[in-house]
Amino acid sequence: MDIFIDQFFNIDIMRKSLPLLFKGLWMTLQLCSAVILLGLIGGLFVALGNMSERRWLRWISIAYTDLFRALPPLVLLIFIYAGLPFAGINISPFAAVVIAFLLNNSSYYAEVYRAGLISVAKGQWEAAQSTGLSPVQTLIHVVLPQAVRNVLPDLLSNTVEVVKLTSLASVISLSELLYNAGMARSVTYNASPLVLAALFYLVLLWPLVRLVSHFQRRLAA
């Protein structure tokens, strides 16, 4: 038991690695804000393409969502980070992560939006347009607020997934939370920094996970 505590919950080592982990956390938060923000916007456009009356737009957006939902995000990330330099395109690790996860996540967000948009009754579009609102105004003021409310749990749970996803950036040595924890582990030969990183993720995400469950129960009732 002592050795377990010493290896996984070593307060001394945790305290020493704290500054490094906070630095990593800051990078993780930056990554999250970029990917979530862009994903929420990009996903909306993909979803709208998916519901467009133009067949080619529909096909493109369906192909887009299916393609990027089929590829593991890590594969996408490695392909972009390690593959693109072969084509003479050099990008920073940060940009590679944002692009890879954006492709992945906008697809997931798009599917959520689509479900939400479908859930809004057709009569809402018709009522709004019959009062002279343009299609864009109808979308923004009438349909989208209802759509988002209907799929809030899914939007939220997808956002949790994005935050978890950013930990993969450690694989290409972007110094976010997990990468820094791994560094601390290899210097100290002790897993406590990794456990501390896990606790960071828990503090960040447990409330959101609870919230998702709470919403789901309320919607089901």
Partner: protein, 224 residues
């Protein structure tokens, strides 16, 4: 254009590394199958246990499900792989990958099945118990079939998301598709193996995505 093809679709490199990639596909499929079976079985068992309404037990189940839904799997993988040997537990890379992904899937599956159980009407339970089935058989014959039907679409989506995470094995030296490809890439100095891995993943997962889409549209349609 020629140069592009030469880097990403080099036939010589392709021929040379196809056996490695195929071996990787085999590893990926084996681990994925084991994760799916174990994860769903464990998740279902937990959800059934939870329906008995034993307070202390339910608290533990909920905590477990919450924690494994909140933790990034890669963190847990690294803790098991790098941390456990120092307390005398040696786990192979594939074993760590299997344990963590199965545990993650179990957490999500438990929540999904539980949501399914909760949406079975109270009257269904009462009808089963009133006809003398008892709680356990009502659970098995009445509630479970209805819950499973509701759970299927989200479950397929989650299974898909988690089996894709077998690619995380490349971070701890499991020779699945992605790590075969990155190894081949550094040996050959060509991006072609990466392209091959992308194709391999598409071949495996695209059909699953299409099935998931179909399942979802079918149930959405029935609800109307």
């Amino acid at each position: 254009m020629d140069r592009f093809l030469e880097t990403f679709f080099n036939p010589v490199v392709m021929a040379q590394y196809t056996p490695d990639i195929i071996a990787g596909i085999w590893v990926t499929l084996t681990i994925a199958a084991a994760v799916i079976v174990a994860g769903i079985a464990a998740g279902l068992a937990l959800a059934c246990l939870r329906s008995y309404g034993i307070r202390a037990l339910n608290f533990l189940i909920i905590c477990y499900a919450d924690i494994f839904r909140a933790l990034p799997p890669l963190v847990v993988i690294l803790i098991l792989y790098f941390g456990f040997p120092s307390i005398g537990i040696q786990l192979s890379g594939p074993m760590v990958l299997f344990i963590v992904l199965a545990a993650t899937l179990a957490a999500f599956a438990e929540e999904i099945f539980w949501a399914g159980f909760s949406s079975v009407e109270k009257g269904q339970w009462e009808a089963g118990i009133a006809t003398g089935l008892g709680f356990t058989r009502t659970l098995a014959y009445v509630a479970l079939p209805q819950a499973v039907r509701l759970a299927l679409p989200p479950l397929v989506n989650r299974v898909l998301a988690i089996t894709k995470m077998t690619a995380l094995g490349s971070a701890i030296g499991v020779s699945e598709i992605l790590s075969s490809a990155t190894t081949a890439q550094s040996f050959s100095g060509s991006a072609t193996p990466l392209t091959m891995s992308v194709v391999a993943y598409l071949v495996i997962f695209l059909p699953m995505v299409v099935i998931a889409r179909w399942l979802e549209s079918r149930t959405a349609w029935k609800k109307r």
